[in-house]
């Protein structure tokens, strides 16, 4: 039986994009209920009941030693060792996930192994959460809702001739995805062209959108581009989820760049991205927070 009926090899693009973009750490539950190896199975049983959970990781400090599952508890009740310490009966053959993995890994692990949950470790091998098929399913549903919402917004406005009302398009930009970076800007340009705007305006819009899109791919953990077209102006918003800009003043200075050397070999990192956007935009704003990320808004007046 498949735990999560999603084909991870060749799903539709939206799904593929989603299961690679979402990381295990964003989906897992990080409020952990743990026990120590000397804890009795009885105590663990009560913990399970109280917290409505079906598996308890046994830890020493932040290191995971094993897991006691509901099944182990049933066995213990059956065989009369419910008062014994966890270490004698916990499962030690652990299969773990890393918090930085995309959830596509988690989905295929649930398909491959019969476990109902996987412990999640960080790079330091510390236990940071647990993930269940339910965590994944509910998060995916949430994301699907969002996708459908934006698809509906796009298609409901596609039939509009001329920009009579706001037309919104959203694009997801993934970290270091230079294969697809440029797609949003090309779409924005195509649309303006189809509306017969003069080429100087299209050029300004192209510069602003391309630079913002590349910034997301180069510097952010991933984010989205939102283009809102109205009769008189185009508002481009580039929003990411981090890591934030420590010194905005510097980022707006021509020639200043934090791009690493392999990104520079691709021709990026001239330190002119944001200055270019600022130069062509009629309105420009940037806010950045080291916890929540950066939002840049650039408006181009279309008249």
């Amino acid at each position: 039986m498949k735990s999560i009926p999603i084909n991870t090899d060749n799903p539709p693009t939206v799904i593929l994009e989603l299961i690679y973009r979402l990381k295990v750490k964003e989906v897992m539950s990080s409020s952990l209920f743990t026990a120590e190896k000397t804890t009795s199975l009885r105590t663990i049983q009560k913990l399970m009941r109280r917290e409505s959970i079906t598996g308890v990781p046994i830890v020493q400090g932040k290191r995971i030693l094993g897991i006691v599952s509901m099944d182990d508890i049933i066995q213990a009740l059956d065989h009369g060792h419910i008062e014994e310490p966890a270490e004698n009966f916990m499962s030690r053959n652990l299969i773990v996930l890393e918090d930085d993995m995309p959830i596509s890994f988690a989905i295929s692990y649930f398909d491959k192994y019969s476990y109902h949950r996987f412990p999640v470790l960080n790079k330091k091998q510390e236990l940071v959460g647990m993930i269940t098929p339910r965590d994944i399913a509910s998060r995916l549903l949430l994301e699907f809702n969002r996708e459908i919402d934006s698809i509906e917004r796009i298609s409901s406005h596609d039939s509009v001739v001329g920009i009579k009302e706001t037309r919104v398009r959203k694009f997801t930009v993934r970290k270091h995805d230079f294969e697809n970076a440029g797609y949003a800007s090309t779409e924005i340009k195509k649309y303006l062209k189809s509306m017969n705007y003069e080429s100087a305006l299209i050029r300004k819009a192209s510069i602003a959108s391309y630079e913002l899109e590349i910034n997301l791919a180069v510097h952010s953990a991933g984010g989205e581009m939102i283009a809102e077209f109205t009769e008189n102006k185009l508002v481009i918003t580039a929003k990411d989820s981090g890591p934030g800009i420590p010194d905005i003043e510097k980022a707006l200075t021509e020639g200043f760049s934090t791009a690493n050397s392999w990104i520079r070999t691709l021709g990026f990192g001239a330190g002119m991205g944001l200055p270019n956007v600022q130069r062509v935009a009629d309105d420009f704003s940037i806010t950045s927070d080291l916890d929540t990320g950066t939002t840049v808004t650039a408006a181009i007046y279309l008249k």
């Binding site: 440029g182 800007s185 080429s199 192209s206 510069i207 391309y210 630079e211 002119m272 200055p275």
Partner: protein, 118 residues
């Protein structure tokens, strides 16, 4: 000046040429895409060693239709595919960017005619 001068007069290799008569009105030499984006003029020939499909993307966005790859840099398949998609001419040459730049400047100045041996 028309783009076919690059193959006819300068003997630059045609990697992909959608049209022999693309207008070239100036040149811009750079490997930094944001720099190109911010400063290059429409209808210029871009002289670069940046053999990557992103170069084509930038060119297309700002109306550059001719790219000259210097120092015998190879154009990867995706770059050629992108050039086809956006109808952008790709040339390559063993010339350095400096040499290609002054040759192009010379031709532009003399309306496509060679006034000296190059």
């Amino acid at each position: 000046m028309k783009s076919n001068i690059l193959s006819k007069t300068l003997h630059y290799t045609q990697i992909y040429v959608p049209d022999q008569e693309i207008e070239i009105s100036s040149g811009y030499t750079s490997d930094l895409l944001s720099d190109v984006m911010g400063n290059a003029q429409e209808n210029c020939a871009l002289i670069t060693i940046q053999g990557h499909k992103n170069t084509v993307a930038v060119a297309s966005l700002i109306g550059i239709r001719t790219i000259i790859l210097c120092n015998n840099r190879k154009a990867p398949e995706e770059m050629i595919a992108a050039a086809k998609e956006h109808a952008i001419a790709l040339y390559s040459t063993a010339d350095t960017q400096f040499t290609a730049s002054w040759k192009l400047a010379h031709l532009l100045e003399h309306n496509g005619e060679l006034k000296r041996n190059i």
